[in-house]
Symmetry: C3
Subunit: 153 residues, 3 copies
Amino acid sequence: MDAIEARLHALGLSLPAAPIPGGNYLPYRFNGESLVLAGTISIRDGVLTHAGQVGDGQTVESGYEAARVCALNTLAAIKAALGSLERVTDVIYVAGYVNAVAGFGASPQVIDGASDLFAQLYGECGKHARTAIAVAGLPKNATVEIQVTVRFR
Amino acid sequence: MDAIEARLHALGLSLPAAPIPGGNYLPYRFNGESLVLAGTISIRDGVLTHAGQVGDGQTVESGYEAARVCALNTLAAIKAALGSLERVTDVIYVAGYVNAVAGFGASPQVIDGASDLFAQLYGECGKHARTAIAVAGLPKNATVEIQVTVRFR
Amino acid sequence: MDAIEARLHALGLSLPAAPIPGGNYLPYRFNGESLVLAGTISIRDGVLTHAGQVGDGQTVESGYEAARVCALNTLAAIKAALGSLERVTDVIYVAGYVNAVAGFGASPQVIDGASDLFAQLYGECGKHARTAIAVAGLPKNATVEIQVTVRFR
C-alpha cells in the first residue's frame, strides 16, 4: 500500500475495484504527460450507491457523498493505470456532472465531495481547475459523474 | 483514398464534407501533439439526420445511428486538419452528449455509435477514454453531439 | 495595461476582479504549455449579471451578453495566472454551457458572446475549437458558464 492509500484508509475509506467501462471505451488513456480518465459514476461493486436526481430524491448532502464515490472510482482507475497513486504529481482538472432537476444551482457543493477528497489525499497538488454543472441525465441514472485529468511522473 | 477511408467504405460508409462551424469558432485546433476537434452534431449535407430528444421521438437505437453520423463528421474534420485519416495515432478522448429527456440513463449505449466506429476503423488505437451524458439541448436540436481529441504523427 | 487590455477598453469593456472559486477548486491549473481555466459564470462583483434559464426569462440576446461576462471573468483569471493577457498565444478550446429549457437549440448563438470577444481581442489566435450545449442547471443558477484552455508563452 502506498502513502496515498494509507491516507485514504486513515480517512476510513478504501479503494474499490477498478471501474469497468459501461460501453466501448477505455477507463483511461495517456496523452503525453497527462493521464485522461474516463468518467466515473456513483457505483460500487456493480451497484449504484446513489441513483436519481438531486432535487428529486437525492439532496446536496447525499450528492456530496455520491461525488466522493466517483472520486474513489477514479482513484482506482488511476492506480490501474499507474500502478501507484503516488505517481500522480498534479490533479489538473475535474469535470463534475450532477444529475439534477432543471434549474439546480448547487452543483459546486455536490462536486466538492470529489474535490475535497483529492485535496485531502494530495494536498496542494490535489487542487484542480473545475467545472460543476447540472445535467439532464447520467449513465444508469447515477446521481453524479466526474471526469478527471492528472499529470504523473 | 487512405487505408482508413478504404475501411470506412468497406463498412458501407463514406466521409461527408468537412463540417461548417455553426458559430464563431473553428472546426479544430492543434495543441502540441494533440488535435482538439470542435463538437460535431448529427447533420449531413446541411440537414439534420436525427433531431429531437431520445425518449421523445428518438430512441436508443436511432441515437446510436446519430452518434455514428457525428463520428463521420469528426472524421471529416480530422481529414481536413491532417490531410489523411492515417495520421491519427490515438483517439484519446470522446465527450458524448445526448439530447434526452430528464433522467435518461442510457447515454453510453447511444454514444457507442461513435465509439464503435472509431474502434472499427483504428482498432486498439481507436479506443478512448469517454464521458457520455444526457443534456437539456444541443445545437439545432440535434439528437447527439460528440467532441473528440486525438493524437497524430 | 497591456495591448490586449487596451483593446478591451476600446470596446468599452474592462477586466473584472479575478474570479473567486465557488468551491474547493482553483481558478486555473498549468498543464505543460496549456493553461486550463476553471469554469466561469455570468457574475460580476459577486452579483449575477444574468440568472435563470434561456427560454424562461432569459433570451438568446441576453444569453449572448451573459457569455461575454463569462469571457471577461476568464480573461481576469488568465491575467492572474500569466501576469499579462499578452502572454496568450492561442485560445485552444471553449466549452460553453447554457442554462436553458429542455430542447433549447440555439446555444451556439449564446456562446458566440464569448467567442466573439476572444476573436476581437486576439484576432485569428483567439479563434478556437468549441462545444456549446444546453444544460439543466449552472452554479448559482447563472445563465451561462464557459471553460477555456489556452496556450501561452
